[in-house]
Symmetry: C2
Subunit: 223 residues, 2 copies
């Protein structure tokens, strides 16, 4: 029998440069869907030529992913993760305190940790070689280490951020992965072990393979 | 009769420098509580002397606000806003698409818009006068304008981001306020009008007065 249940759809890019492969944010949604064994479709967009104007109604920042489940449309990975979490306790606990702790850590990943990691990436990747970068990076690196230490200390000997594995860990580990071109995470043993634990999960590996498989080898010509 | 219902508690600072007054993040929670007429207590902490170690269990990044409602503890303003929203439709609509659109915009404010505004603040305030700042700022300002334009265009002639007024507007308007030392928001007419509309709400004004009233005039001595 063929399963005719409509599948959720995730937008993704059909090509990105090497430095971004595995980091594009649809990875977060793919990982969550793989954790609960939910089949999904991908809708591939060009990262080079402009997306059609109507895409802005689905994703106002013209980025990926946008998510569709039946008639429902959601943008922002944090929101998509919470939506999937509400449907499945393997992603978000139902118990009140555990639930809000997990939701708080999703926001921590995206608002307390990712912004300063974004500065490191902006300096190392997007502005590499410019003469103002070393001084700017020094200032951001101190702040970045402070945030990483806070997460490291909060983890301590815990396996996951909020009790059982949850969307908080999907958010935090994919955020930390933006530092993969540096040794910063390795300076914090609990954090490094935590990240390795997350990336060893079969669902993470399947999600990563799926994102990489959707990229063309060569940059498509701009339309 | 005295109302003996336990009130939620919000942590805040007892003093901050002028540039931060009105911007400290407990403002977001105070505003939401004022919108629904919910009385609350503040627990004032020193921004100068270290917080007690046990505070990290409530707020792992040693920041404000931390939020307590009975036995429940929540950190991260995004999570606290969603918690309050789930309890009151005046803050978060119950209808499924409207709810997820509002939640998506909360994440947009905190993850798509605030990070680049944070860079402008880092350059203008925390690193003012350093010789690498002008070049770094130029790169961030272009990105900041791009994000502001996206929000401006998504707003168009709409009054609020997600239908009725919601926590999405509390998040976005308080994020935009971090640019109050610049003319950047004024370059985008829909955005500027939207921000003014939010700040004209009586609940916003009450929240602002309450935050300012909790600051001592003089910096306390470090403990």
């Amino acid at each position: 029998m063929t399963d005719t249940t409509p599948r959720p759809t995730v937008t993704a890019f059909d090509w990105v440069p090497d430095f971004a492969r595995g980091l594009v944010r649809d990875m977060r949604v793919r990982w969550a869907l793989e954790e609960i064994g939910a089949p999904y479709n991908t809708e591939l967009l060009s990262a080079r030529s402009p997306r059609p104007d109507e895409y802005l109604a689905r994703q106002p920042f013209d980025q990926v992913p946008a998510f569709t489940d039946g008639d429902l449309q959601i943008f922002e990975t944090g929101a998509i993760l919470l939506y999937l979490g509400e449907k499945d306790e393997r992603l978000l606990p139902a118990e009140v305190q555990a639930r809000w702790t997990a939701i708080a850590w999703v926001f921590s990943a995206l608002n307390s940790v990712e912004p300063v990691i974004g500065r490191i990436v902006a300096y190392d990747i997007f502005n590499a070689g410019k003469d103002w970068v070393p001084a700017a990076r020094e200032s951001a690196e101190a702040l970045c280490k402070q945030k990483l230490k806070r997460v490291n200390d909060a983890l301590g000997s815990k396996e996951w951020l909020a009790g059982d594995f949850s969307v908080a860990d999907i958010a935090m580990i994919t955020v930390l992965n933006n530092l993969r071109h540096t040794d910063l995470v390795a300076e914090f043993p609990s954090l490094a072990a935590y990240k390795a634990r997350g990336e060893a999960r079969p669902a993470y590996k399947r999600a990563m393979e799926a994102q990489l498989a959707d990229f063309k080898a060569e940059a498509p010509q701009a339309a």
